[in-house]
């Protein structure tokens, strides 16, 4: 394959359908995201798994999942969470909620906006994004 491009170039609207943030201490994780975003996540708990859902109107959603096979980590894929207009409003809550800021609000470029990186209460590394 090396170097040869596929014959049909496919494009699609979104490359993300859904995201999941693993947790060990489920409640602690839910509290963390509730606190930094000022949201109230809906939960669904059964014998094996506990899940909490990020409230979205019609965009791409995701959840917190605790249970077998769902292991937090600070390496691997990096998800950029939408932090509204100014990500500092969210980032400012991270440490109080039990997370750690790895990179403060950083300019990407004038047209691209800003990002920041944090580690959540469970040890997951995530990024925040805002246009301003």
């Amino acid at each position: 394959m090396g170097g040869t491009s596929p014959k049909v170039k496919r494009q699609q609207k979104d490359f993300i359908s859904w995201f999941e943030i693993p947790a060990i201490n489920f409640q602690q994780s839910v509290n963390f995201y509730n606190q930094i975003f000022g949201i109230d996540m809906e939960t669904n708990i059964d014998d094996n798994y506990a899940m909490a859902f990020f409230p979205v109107s019609n965009g791409i959603g995701g959840s917190i999942v605790a249970g077998p096979g769902s292991t937090p980590g600070d390496s691997g894929p990096l998800i950029y969470l939408n932090a509204g207009k100014d990500l500092n409003l969210v980032l400012g809550n991270v440490e109080n909620a039990g997370g750690r800021i790895v990179m403060p609000k950083t300019l990407i470029s004038e047209e691209s906006g800003y990002f920041a990186i944090f580690i959540d209460s469970e040890g997951n590394k995530l990024a925040l994004y805002s246009s301003q």
């Binding site: 201490n25 602690q28 509290n31 600070d74 990096l78 950029y80 440490e95 039990g98 997370g99 750690r100 790895v102 990179m103 950083t106 990407i108 470029s109 047209e111 691209s112 906006g113 990002f115 990186i117 580690i119 209460s121 040890g123 590394k125 990024a127 994004y129 246009s131």
Partner: protein, 914 residues
């Protein structure tokens, strides 16, 4: 009474008083034999001698030998005015007692014709002769009945009996307790029927030594209950002793705990034969050393070795032309007992089913655990086994930072996050104390607030510390369990294996307290106490008592048997009192044990652990008490001697333990003015106590630093080996092998050093004297500060601001050379002032104090740099002065940062469109 007051304050315990009284009787009786008949001097002397005899009468009634009967004979000789024979007899008895020789031949005292010079022959029987012990009978009987009992027992004994014993009869409860305290060779107690309570024998001479027994005060108990109560007390204070009960109460009416208290219950006092056999059987059971005996047997068998180990049977050694001196040095037995076999009576340490299994079970009983494991690679390994067995990566361990380095490495291996606890510093002597309970609780509550308490699996503390600081184990466990009822405790008792064998010490050991608390929390009385305590709590106040429905007792102790008891070097044991062991940890424990245990364990070490166990079960109490006595005598000697006082201070409780941790108010064990202070109260209640057998001497006034004093003075001149020093102190220890002779030698050496220092001082020129004084000032007045643990760099912290850090990640990041660089010590401060955070990439462990001032991932603080700058020791592990501190590069500290790819693609970013 001759100088009775003076005598008492001079004597630390009854043994000292006993021997001193015999010695003074020897002296006074020989003076008496030389007095002219009928003179006034003679009359005075007779009174003097009689007084000493009376003192001795009250002491000797608690011993079978020489015994009250022989004292009576001495009184009679006096009456008959046979002063020469009297003096001679006393001299013989004294010699026997002082040398302890009567134990190898108790008949020496019986035999009227035996002369002192024949005692030399007795020596030859040592080890081959029968072991001698004493049996305490508690019953209110007449002297005639007592004599009949003795002769009955003698009659049923046969020459083939393995052991010899003498009989001590006490008529009251209190006297029985006194006998047990004084007479360390009592190995069995027979309580017959119901003894009365109050002793009639407590004379003013005895009183200071038996105060703790007078304080027991069980007078209100009905006489009929006193037998079982006494049985329980024997088990509490001397659990190794066999207890037998002779009663009329029918089995149906005997309480369960009475049945459990005694090893056997008899119904007919006359059944002397059965009693005799039972007593001997009980002793034999303790005497057994399954593994050691198996190894001895094995070494006698002729075997052909077609396996590993050419050294086995000495084959490759004794036939060698070049190393047979090696064989001759150790002797044949050492090689005959070297084998890799796990059969033929021997056993596998990794999966014991025979003699090692039994040996470990016997050790478990002796040390008061539920499970005991032998370890042949020292307590460093024991510590790693326990930590690996109980915590997994990401779990939190609360741990005293000045613990042994094996723990820090154990945490690296296990991947647990340490939350370091700081011992309070004693800057004046450049050493650390212990961790105050309040600090442990604060850290735990901090974790609770951060939602991380469930991860805190273990509290790990060193008890006692190298310097002799001892925790209040019961209080620590109780108050921590009140916050987290399933906390696991690992008590590093590397220096405290001997502590289980005398009561004051035992009540501050992991195993004893685990058992005690487990029983306590099951009682209804505790439940009521707990409920009332909870009701009485103010809002926000933290309970000090654990919830009886939730509490789990899970305690582990690691002990260097070889440090304080008889065992070859590296002989160590893990003692476990974990009610969830089978359910929760047995599997992981066995895996951890397999991880760290050699598949070629050293059999000589294992045999020595087995034999050492036998020793403590017979003479642990005696030897430990003796080592404390010798330490006390030495402490007093240095305090009292004007020449020693000039240069040396024996540091004591008040120097080491701040007042707020000493509710008893005890500040020293010995005071030249008031004599001995009893340690009982302090050991019962104080937050910290000082183990008197660890003797720290302040040598600041000599102008010589600790390290030089240890090497140039004690070792080079007197061959006295000590281990630990600080800038201005040296640490000496007594142990169960310490003799009076070695204490005298040490005292003598210190006196000679003092003389030498005097001479040196006189010969100094003015200029030299200035330098000398400056050195003294530096050692006595300038105290480098002792830094606390700073904190883990935030990239290693689990949660910011909450204690605990990923020491393993930091440790392994330093595997790669690209990740670290060196900063010379002198440049550290300017670099830090320039805004750079320096983070250690290795352990930095100066000797002394011997624990890390920096661990991987720890932020370097100003205080630590200052400490390292003024530190005047040459041995610092993990630090090369020519290179400097090994710190992480900034790129490592920022390793979680990254760039974003957003906006870097040629096409317009998806987000831009929004």
């Amino acid at each position: 009474m001759i100088n009775s007051k003076l005598q008492i304050s001079n004597c630390y315990n009854i043994n000292q008083l006993r021997l001193e009284s015999w010695n003074s009787l020897k002296l006074e009786s020989s003076i008496l034999s030389e007095n002219s008949k009928g003179s006034t001097e003679e009359k005075k002397q007779i009174e003097k001698v009689k007084n000493i005899l009376r003192t001795l009468e009250s002491i000797e009634s608690y011993f079978a030998l020489p015994g009250i009967h022989r004292l009576g004979l001495l009184f009679e000789m006096m009456e008959r005015q046979e002063y020469t024979a009297f003096a001679h007899k006393i001299s013989e008895i004294t010699k026997l007692l002082v040398s302890d020789k009567y134990r190898s031949n108790p008949n020496a005292l019986e035999d009227e014709d035996l002369k002192i010079d024949q005692l030399e022959d007795i020596d030859k029987y040592d080890g081959k002769g029968k072991n001698y012990f004493e049996v305490l009978f508690v019953e209110d009987i007449s002297l005639q009945e007592e004599n009949k009992l003795r002769s009955d027992l003698k009659e049923v004994g046969t020459s083939s009996d393995q052991f010899n014993y003498g009989v001590v009869v006490q008529k009251t409860f209190e006297d029985a307790m006194i006998a047990l305290k004084f007479n360390s060779n009592i190995q069995a107690v027979v309580i017959r029927y119901a003894p009365p309570y109050k002793s009639k024998k407590i004379s003013p001479v005895l009183k200071p030594f038996v105060q703790s027994i007078i304080d027991l005060d069980m007078n209100s108990k009905s006489e009929i209950r006193l037998g079982p109560v006494l049985g329980r007390l024997v088990k509490k204070f001397r659990p190794e002793i066999d207890t037998y009960y002779v009663t009329d109460t029918s089995l149906a009416n005997l309480k369960d705990n009475t049945l459990k208290t005694f090893d056997r219950i008899f119904y007919r006092a006359e059944d002397v034969q059965e009693l005799h056999l039972t007593i001997l059987r009980g002793i034999y059971k303790r005497y057994e050393t399954p593994f050691f005996s198996a190894l001895k047997e094995y070494s006698k068998k002729p075997t052909g070795v077609f396996h590993a180990m050419p050294i086995s049977r000495g084959n490759s050694v004794f036939k060698s032309r070049w190393i047979n001196d090696f064989g001759n040095f150790y002797g044949r037995n050492m090689f005959l007992a070297e084998t890799s076999s796990t059969k033929g009576g021997l056993d596998s340490l990794l999966q014991p089913t025979g003699t090692l299994k039994t040996a470990q079970k016997m050790a478990s009983k002796a040390y008061g655990s539920l499970n005991t494991f032998f370890v042949t690679n020292g307590t460093s390994t024991s510590n790693k086994i326990v930590v690996q067995a109980l915590v997994k990566p990401g779990d939190i361990v609360l741990i005293d930072r000045d613990c042994h380095k094996s723990h820090h490495y154990g945490l690296v291996l296990s991947g647990a996050y340490p939350v370091y606890l700081d011992s309070y510093p004693i800057e004046k002597y450049s050493m650390y104390g212990a961790v105050p309970l309040q600090q442990i609780k604060d850290k735990l509550l901090q974790l609770k607030e951060a939602g991380r308490m469930q991860l805190a699996k273990m509290l790990l503390l060193t008890n006692c510390t190298f310097d002799g600081f001892v925790y209040n184990v019961e209080k620590v466990m109780e108050e921590i369990l009140a916050i987290k009822p399933d906390m696991i405790f690992l008590w590093d008792e590397a220096w405290f294996a001997f502590a289980g064998f005398t009561y004051n010490y035992k009540q501050r050991t992991g195993m004893y307290v685990a058992d005690k608390l487990s029983k306590k929390y099951k009682t209804d009385k505790y439940r009521i106490e707990y409920e009332e305590h909870i009701k009485g709590l103010k809002k926000g106040e933290v309970s000090k008592l654990p919830d009886p429905d939730k509490v789990r007792i899970r305690v582990y102790s690691t002990q260097s048997t070889h440090k304080t008891l008889s065992s070859f070097r590296q002989g160590s044991m893990i003692h476990i009192w974990d009610q969830d062991f089978r359910k929760k940890t047995q599997n992981t424990f066995m895996e951890a044990y397999m991880t760290h245990t050699s598949t070629s364990p050293n059999y000589q070490i294992l045999a020595s652990l087995d034999a050492g166990r036998r020793q403590v079960q017979f003479e642990g109490y005696e030897l430990v008490e003796k080592s404390i006595e010798l330490a006390m005598v030495f402490r007093a000697k240095v305090n009292d001697h004007p020449k020693l006082k000039k240069y040396f201070d024996v540091l004591t409780v008040g120097d080491f333990i701040p007042k707020e941790y000493r509710s008893s108010g005890l500040s020293e064990y010995y005071n030249p003015k008031t004599g001995w202070n009893r340690m009982d109260k302090a050991w019962e209640a104080d937050e910290f106590v000082l183990d008197p057998t660890k003797i720290t001497i302040h040598i600041g006034r000599t102008g010589v630093d600790g390290d030089t004093f240890k090497n140039k003075y004690l070792m080079d001149q007197f061959n006295i080996q000590i281990n630990k020093t600080s800038r201005n102190t040296v640490l000496l220890m007594t142990n169960i092998g310490t003799t009076r002779g070695s204490i005298t030698y040490l005292t003598n050496a210190l006196l000679k050093i003092a003389d030498e220092l005097d001479r040196e001082e006189l010969s100094l020129t003015t200029e030299e004297n200035k330098i000398h004084q400056a050195k003294i000032n530096s050692l006595t007045q300038d105290f480098p500060p002792l830094p606390d643990f700073s904190y883990f760099h935030h990239s290693f912290q689990a949660v910011p601001g909450v204690p605990g850090g990923n020491i393993r990640e930091a440790f392994t990041l330093a595997y790669s050379e690209e990740n670290y660089e060196f900063v010379p010590l002198s440049e550290c401060r300017p670099t830090m002032e320039g805004g750079r955070t320096l983070v250690a990439s290795s352990f930095i462990i100066p000797y002394p104090p011997g624990f890390p001032v920096l661990v991987p991932g720890q932020v370097v603080s100003e205080e630590i740099i200052h400490f390292l700058t003024v530190l005047d020791v040459t041995e610092i592990h993990g630090y090369a002065p020519e290179l400097g501190l090994r710190v992480f590069k900034d790129s490592v500290l920022n390793r979680q940062q990254t760039v974003t790819s957003m906006g870097s693609n040629k096409k317009k970013n998806l987000i831009d469109k929004k």
